[in-house]
């Protein structure tokens, strides 16, 4: 389904807050948003799997924490 539009301004602001000296190309924030979506996707999938393994119908914080540890950036 369609989600909201990407918060481009927020993304740029976030990047600026971390790295003020860094610039971003024109469509860069879109790709950043894409990367963010995929990151959340992977995190959600992993958390979902953890919840299933725990025979839980909901995703609990411990599932999310375990999922975050598995997802490795680089």
């Amino acid at each position: 389904g369609m989600r909201r539009s990407a918060p481009r301004g927020t993304l740029r602001g976030l990047l600026k807050s971390h790295k003020p000296q860094l610039r971003l190309a024109a469509g860069g924030d879109l790709l950043v948003h894409l990367n963010f979506l995929m990151f959340l996707h992977r995190l959600a999938e992993e958390a979902r799997t953890n919840a299933f393994e725990n025979k839980s119908k909901t995703i609990k914080p411990e599932h999310t924490i375990a999922a975050a540890k598995v997802i490795k950036h680089l």
Binding site: L30, L43, K60, H63
Partner: protein, 906 residues
């Protein structure tokens, strides 16, 4: 014809070879010699093959000349076979090339023998070849090569007759010719590929040629097997594309047989005679083998076969060109040969590796089972779960490679969870109760404000209870109501000093009043607060103990006590809070400020709940230090009541210090509110997540107030450094470890708006929405906190990585290439999954259009996917960073589908 070459071959006059050849040849029709007659050689060859066809040789790859040779050898073995053995042996001799020099001699002998019976020899050779061809492809190969070499029309004809299709197939004199020249090879004879035939090839060639010129040529070729390398190369080249593999096989065999045999310069184009003649002198081959005379051709052949590298019949027909000088030979053959050779060694290490791996695995299993037993023993309780846990543990160990520790922890965790839960439940219950009481107190305060407190001194309990939920948000009216109530409560307060109710009520009122006071007590005098505090003290005389405890206890204790009290005196609290409110209201002359503050109160109602206890403590502490122990009970009450009172206390403390201008107080109030709200929320959400699953943040804050009161006070203390004494901060500071962390950043924001600017955080609702969509499962609120943290970490790491990539490229701007590289590193983009597909899959249409300018075209032109994708891939990537979809039609289809589906979604 035969005679010529045969004679040439025989020219060198190697006796033994001649003898051998004689033997071979003689077996045939010639019958002159031994058992083998050349005449029957062909027949025998054909017969011998099936009869004697070495099983091993048959297993050889088709292209293996080796196999052919052995076959021939075998064929030649049975002496019974009339002429075939001779021929076969001759060929075998030639093939193995053990005695390179000898072979030609042999062949020469053969030739001579054959030549003797020229017609017969020719027929025999032809027949032999024919038989070979019929029976095996190898033979065909053998035949082909010579055929290829046979460029002369006459020979061709003969060859065709013999080999038929195979011959024709492989008969590529011209290509062969072409190939030869480029080939290096010192001794290579460009002219006569035939001459360059490898030994085997030569042999074959001889055979093939037999019909043409009798076996002379063939024999010569065979005999020249020593120069197989050259011949094979030439033969290989000659074979051309038609029978590449076969050629390779032949070459392979030739190579193997050559074994370092120096490239023999074959006789020039000279037909059979010349070739034979030249081959004859090529007997430079080292006599690696004993005298031919002593050893039968079969023995020689066997030796050769043994020494030659064995190529798996299953392997692709590749010839080992490594040693060949057949540079002209097709490079593919070399490659294949190298591949074949490599395959063999590859198989071996694989096996070893696999074997070792299995061994380790088995060891692991043993240890795990032992572990399980030990674990089971250790956990008698878990016997019921032992099996499960053991299996789980085993799997975990296997996967994680960890020792028992995590497993036992898990096991124990599984078992202990119920126990822990009980304990937690109790504590949580208490905390929840306290919080509820506080909340209710706050609600009651609000209710009191709205309704007449006096009237509802006792009845308000019910009314308050009823109005509990709604009153909380009716605060805007509270200002006036508070004033009324305060005024009304005051007399009550003064009247009812001893009764617990009143005390409680006073507490409640105090709390509320304090809160309101904070709102409106910008410029209240200390005396007024003191007065109220005194009143509160008097009223709360009974609660002095608690208050004292409260003042000294940690926030948790306070909370509990408060809750305990609140439980008992809910209705009283209402009154007390209302009283307090009324009292404070009196003091606060700045209605405007109060209104303003109250508005903020409403906004931060939830935080207030936390704030009130915090501020109570703060105010109490400050008051205490500043004035007297009076604030203690105030603090106690306020803590019970909730945030409101604390706020008021805070303000009272401000007032007492007398250093706080109204504005400052307001600011501080705001800060406190904000801080409290922030901290309360954070604390509540983080700490009380397990307990409070409701959506009410207030509840969370209340639950967390047990742990957070001191911590919540921390921010309250921080903005009060000017006003309050450090004493007040002390009790709160050490209470919660979170104070320093959250208190510091929070106070920095003086304005609510600044909070966002300081931390441009993504909207949590946005993250929630996305995560929920991807999770497809209900997600607890606490889990969202974790996700929020993960996102923060993610963005931090993302910015670091992008900066590194841009810096690595010598740029200060992050480009699309950097982002694609980032995704590649995260294995989101692979060779099979180009970036463009991901863009089409995840991003909405408008963004896709931006990133892929020709996105639309790609979708519209679905039928022309092949053309379009190429266009799109080229056009759509202005930076040249987007991966190009490979020309694979399936992938193109997939890309088109992806684009179409995404397009259809919009």
């Amino acid at each position: 014809m035969l005679e010529g070459p045969v004679q040439a071959v025989l020219a060198p006059g190697e006796h033994r070879v001649h003898n051998g050849a004689r033997q071979l040849l003689g077996s045939g029709r010639i019958r002159r010699r031994g058992p083998g007659s050349v005449g029957a050689a062909s027949v025998a060859a054909g017969q011998g093959e099936p009869g004697s066809g070495s099983p091993g040789q048959r297993g050889h790859s088709q292209a293996r000349l080796h196999s052919v040779h052995p076959r021939l050898c075998h064929v030649g073995e049975p002496r019974a076979g009339p002429g075939s053995p001779l021929l076969s042996e001759a060929v075998a001799f030639a093939g193995p090339g053990t005695g390179g020099v000898e072979q030609p001699v042999l062949l020469a002998d053969l030739l001579t023998e054959l030549g003797l019976g020229q017609a017969q020899a020719a027929d025999a050779a032809l027949h032999l070849l024919h038989l070979h061809l019929q029976q095996r492809d190898d033979v065909a190969l053998l035949v082909e090569l010579p055929q290829q070499l046979l460029r002369r029309g006459a020979r061709r004809q003969r060859v065709r007759v013999v080999g038929g299709a195979s011959f024709q197939r492989t008969f590529l004199p011209y290509p062969y010719r072409h190939r030869q020249p480029p080939g290096p090879g010192p001794g290579y004879h460009r002219r006569g590929p035939q001459l360059h035939l490898h030994r085997q090839v030569d042999g074959l060639h001889v055979l093939g040629r037999a019909p043409c010129r009798g076996l002379g040529g063939g024999a010569g070729a065979l005999s020249g097997g020593g120069g197989r390398s050259g011949s094979s190369g030439g033969g290989g080249g000659g074979a051309g594309a038609a029978c590449g593999p076969r050629r390779l096989a032949l070459v392979d065999a030739a190579q193997g047989e050559d074994g370092g045999h120096p490239h023999q310069s074959r006789p020039g184009s000279g037909r059979d005679v010349a070739a034979a003649a030249r081959r004859a002198p090529l007997r430079q081959q080292p006599a690696a083998f004993p005298d031919v005379d002593n050893d039968t051709p079969r023995v020689l052949l066997r030796r050769v076969i043994r020494n030659q590298p064995q190529v798996s019949p299953l392997a692709p027909p590749v010839a080992d060109h490594k040693e060949t000088e057949d540079a002209p030979s097709e490079p593919s053959s070399r490659r294949t040969s190298s591949m074949v050779e490599l395959q063999l060694p590859d198989i071996v290490p694989e096996d070893t590796s696999i074997s070792t791996f299995r061994m380790t695995r088995s060891r692991k299993k043993l240890s795990i089972s032992q572990f399980e037993r030990a674990a089971d023993k250790r956990l008698p309780q878990n016997q019921a779960h032992s099996t499960l846990d053991s299996t789980l543990a085993r799997s975990l160990r296997m996967s994680l490679g960890s020792v028992l520790a995590p497993d036992t922890v898990e096991k124990k965790g599984l078992l202990r969870r119920p126990k822990n839960r009980k304990a937690i439940d109790i504590a949580a219950f208490e905390g929840g109760v306290e919080q509820n009481m506080q909340r209710k107190a706050q609600n009651y305060l609000v209710d009191l404000q709205t309704a007449s407190v006096i009237e509802a001194a006792t009845a308000t309990s019910d009314a308050e209870i009823m109005l509990n939920n709604t009153e909380l948000f009716v605060q805007p009216q509270s200002v006036e109501q508070n004033q009324k109530k305060l005024s009304a409560l005051e007399p009550q307060l003064s009247e009812s000093k001893t009764p617990v109710q009143r005390s409680e009520i006073s507490n409640a009122t105090q709390e509320e009043g304090k809160l309101v006071g904070r709102v409106s007590s910008v410029g209240t005098d200390e005396g007024r607060t003191r007065r109220y505090s005194e009143e509160e003290l008097i009223n709360d005389g009974e609660h002095v103990d608690n208050m004292a405890h409260v003042s000294q206890k940690t926030s948790a204790n306070q909370g509990e006590d408060e809750q305990g009290y609140s439980q008992q005196s809910e209705p009283m609290e209402q009154l007390s809070t209302s009283e307090e409110v009324a009292g404070t209201m009196e003091h606060h002359t700045n209605a405007g400020y109060s209104e303003h503050l109250e508005k903020k109160l409403t906004e931060k109602a939830e935080s207030q709940i936390i704030m009130s206890p915090e501020e109570e403590g703060v105010a109490e502490g400050s008051v205490k230090h500043q004035d007297s122990p009076k604030p203690e009970p105030e603090m106690a009450r306020s803590a019970r009541a909730g945030s409101l009172s604390r706020h008021s206390h805070a303000f009272s403390s401000f007032e007492k210090s007398g250093t706080k201008p109204s504005e400052e107080a307001v600011e501080q109030a705001d800060e406190l509110l904000e801080d409290g709200a922030v901290m309360g929320e954070l604390d509540g959400s983080e700490e009380e997540s397990t307990e409070d699953e409701t959506e009410m943040e207030g509840q969370e804050s209340e639950e967390g107030s047990m742990k957070t009161p001191t911590f919540v006070r921390a921010p309250a203390y921080h903005p009060l450094p000017l006003l309050s004494t450090p004493h007040s901060a002390k009790p709160a500071a050490p209470a919660s470890p979170l104070q320093p962390q959250q208190a510091k950043p929070v106070p920095k924001t003086s304005r609510k708006s600044q909070k966002k600017k300081r931390e441009p955080a993504l909207a949590s609702s946005y993250i929630k929405q996305i995560f929920r969509h991807y999770a497809k499962m209900p997600v607890t609120r606490d889990a969202y906190q974790i996700i929020e943290k993960c996102c923060e970490k993610y963005f931090k790491q993302l910015s670091d990585d992008l900066e590194a990539y841009a810096h690595h490229a010598g740029r200060k701007t992050v480009e699309m290439a950097d982002l694609e590289l980032l995704m590649r590193r995260q294995r989101l983009v692979t060779d099979k999954m180009p970036l463009r597909v991901l863009i089409e899959r995840y991003l909405p249409m408008e963004y896709r259009k931006l990133l892929i300018p020709v996105a639309i075209r790609e979708e519209d032109l679905l039928p022309e996917k092949c053309r379009v994708t190429s266009q799109v891939s080229e056009i759509g990537d202005p930076n040249g960073t987007v991966n190009r979809t490979p020309g694979n039609p399936t992938q193109l289809l997939a890309a088109m589908f992806a684009s179409l589906t995404s397009f259809a979604q919009h």
